[in-house]
Subunit: 455 residues, 2 copies
């Protein structure tokens, strides 16, 4: 890869992080059986190099606690500032490990929870910056890399019993065949998606009906609905939604981790006649063996298991794949340690023949995962058959280059970077707690001001 | 349980948290293949009730990053302050879930990493306070509870496919038989331990020899040694230590997560003739299936697998136990969400016949885990046969009631609480970065002052 800048001008001079929150709890947007009142939020990272170019990255959060992730980003920033970005990109996997295995910091993870979310925000900003430097959207940056370079972005630690660097290289070399044709097809048609927009648990039937109609009119053929709070209500809701969308369209259901293992099996047997494609997050996101048992039992009913949005790292994903505990692998661009680690999950899923259907919908998630799934289509699996990216129409208006969905397909981004840059107004209004919108809501008593209640 | 205080005086009026660090990296104390330069540290929580009584709790860290855990404790404190402690203790399991499943905060865990460490520090402080209120050491507070009350301390969410509340009650009722006799035996003899003191990776042969001799003279018959950096050096080190301790004493080895799955198997086959009782943390702490494979392969060689100090929560422990991926279950009092969650691990381990051998050695860990293991002996498993608590002689001098080890046995604590209170001088000297010792080390240039280098 060639760069037009001098080495000195490629040095990182600053890393800034902001706590940005949107008051989505006011309208139950994003509500589910486990997360009843989310304020869709993020820790937003800006990395600037000497040349004056900036990269933007984020990790998604639900409001409270974002300040903890912000603190983690600040702590990690000393490992970033002063680095020359091209040194990072040359052996990106090695650099990634310096963040995730810092000898003192790793104790408070390792590679999970707050510190790994902070890592994701930083890593995502570095990818956005990389795309801007070479003037390519990240999907194309990835697709244009030769296999050796892509593999150098990945830390294969703890994966070798499922995938080796050599196997990854072979799959990526194979992925080069027919690539140009797929790029053209992608640029023409985009990548298919489904929506969860009509299915939030806090929504009334009227709102569900109106939204489902709206998305069918837009060409959507796959809908996801939240379940798990009350079996009787779930049956009513699924009847209601099947009446609207009919039986030819695809229905997925999502329990957001509320069940015990056996409870998930029993509950889903009651919902099986609504023919859901998958049950998402039936139980604890850490319970590989539990998911495997659920998957085995539901298989004869034609129901797959989907999970991943809270899967904490590649080692957990490895086990979910090994144990056939999921049939739909829902990588999340903000959960595990950013693009680099997610690439390893795509490689394992491809090797083991599991479909990747990214989780999205949270702040910036649609913007980011579209790139990854498009790379997979173009340069790894070569197929979008039976795969979908999640799509929810929330918070896109705050991005400079929001994702564009037409006829239930994500259109391939054309702008350089990872589509993660916020508009200036978004920051002015929604930085927490000092943004204009927040100040105004505190004044009106809609939310209480944390600056007055904190200890 | 009866309390002598009025309801009003049992209200929590404040929660304070401090970043406390000890400069252990200066002498390679605590060094291993993964953590080369730890500064043994903690986030130290003080909870005060209206009556003026305080409870102290902590979570162990390795230095950098403690400020992130401190921030998490601050965020969680709004869920604590204002509560009446007896309401908490009455349905402690329910209260525990309000911390670990807060609808917005759980996203940045859930139940793992920074937020779960912060939860542990707070929960441990509540147990210390409980012990002080009823004037009992925590092991005795636990042992004196009737089974119903103990079970009410536990959140069984996600565990029901391995253990139910009813099964827990049955085991605890059975544990009452012969309890008095075991209490007397415990008070007389204490609980057996092993030491890692002589085995840090950064130590010279001379230092290893001197320390091993010292601990043999003190009656120790079990020694743990760090391995995993270099096979040849490991062989030399194990030869060296077997020459000192002989073949009748027990030897454990600990790789601190450095290996791939197959690498662990291959490496340990080379070390098998030194007859280690267990290999500890052979690979990623998240890799249940990997550990299971290692355990299956090493079983014919007489080597067990030990892990748990970085096991992030009860759901992972459940799977390690289900998959027979460990033969020695190393709970850590500061890693999973404090006493309440650890009780559930003891119950599962007992049901499945796995020995619990707690991890200790980090700041305050010996002080805390002795209570848990003594409760298990007295009121659950009824046996200390083939079990050991880890013991390392570091940082005990900073505690008001340090653990006391005599003739390789922890003596049962007699003072009320969880043994987690720091001496005033310890805080004056080692609060980071403003403590006297740190100021002095910054002045001498031994460490750089973070207040001058932070962004």
């Amino acid at each position: 890869m060639s760069y037009t800048h001098t080495r000195e001008s490629l040095k990182i001079v600053s890393l800034d992080v902001k706590d940005v929150r949107f008051p989505t709890s006011l309208h139950a947007d994003g509500s589910d059986a486990m997360h009843t009142d989310p304020d869709y939020s993020c820790a937003y990272v800006t990395i600037e190099i000497q040349a004056g170019i900036e990269g933007y990255g984020l990790t998604f959060t639900l409001g409270r606690g974002t300040e903890i992730v912000v603190q983690a980003v600040k702590t990690l920033s000393s490992l970033i500032v002063g680095q020359v970005v091209t040194d990072i990109y040359k052996e990106f996997g090695t650099f990634w490990r310096t963040l995730t295995s810092e000898s003192q910091l790793r104790w408070i993870g390792p590679e999970k929870g707050v510190t790994h979310l902070a890592t994701a925000a930083i890593i995502n900003a570095l990818w956005d910056l990389w795309g801007r430097l070479v003037k390519k959207p990240v999907w194309q940056l990835l697709a244009d890399m030769d296999p050796e370079q892509l593999v150098a972005c990945i830390d294969f630690r703890y994966l070798s019993n499922v995938i080796t660097k050599e196997e990854a290289l072979q799959m990526l070399r194979k992925g080069q065949e027919g690539k140009e044709e797929r790029v053209n097809k992608l640029l023409e048609k985009g990548y298919p998606c489904y929506t969860t927009q009509a299915g939030w648990l806090g929504y009334s039937n009227e709102k569900i009906n109106q939204l489902a109609q709206k998305y069918m009119d837009k060409g959507f053929n796959a809908f996801k609905v939240k379940v798990g709070k009350n079996l009787y209500e779930d049956i009513k809701r699924l009847e209601f939604i099947r009446n609207i969308i009919g039986w030819k369209r695809t229905l997925m259901v999502d329990a957001n981790q509320v069940w015990e293992v056996q409870e998930a099996i029993d509950w889903m047997q009651q919902l099986a006649h609504f023919k859901p494609l998958w049950i998402e997050e039936p139980t604890s996101p850490d319970d590989v063996l539990g998911h495997a048992q659920i998957a085995r039992t539901l298989k004869p009913l034609g129901i797959g298991v989907a999970t991943g949005e809270m899967c904490c790292n590649r080692v957990l994903f490895k086990q979910f794949l090994q144990a056939e505990a999921l049939q739909f692998c829902q990588i999340d661009s903000a959960r595990i340690g950013g693009v680099n680690e997610i690439l390893s999950v795509y490689l394992m899923a491809h090797k083991l023949g599991v479909k990747v259907c990214p989780h999205a919908g949270g702040v910036g998630l649609c913007e980011m995962v579209q790139h990854l799934q498009m790379w997979d289509y173009v340069a790894l699996s070569g197929s979008s058959e039976g795969k979908y990216v999640e799509y929810i129409d929330q918070q896109h208006e705050h991005f400079v280059y929001p994702c564009i969905v037409e006829n239930a397909h994500y259109l391939a981004p054309r702008e350089p970077g990872y589509s993660t840059e916020f508009k200036k107004e978004a920051l002015e209004n929604y930085v927490y707690p000092n943004g204009k919108e927040w100040e105004s809501m505190f004044e009106k008593g809609i939310f209480s001001d944390p600056r007055k209640t904190r200890i």
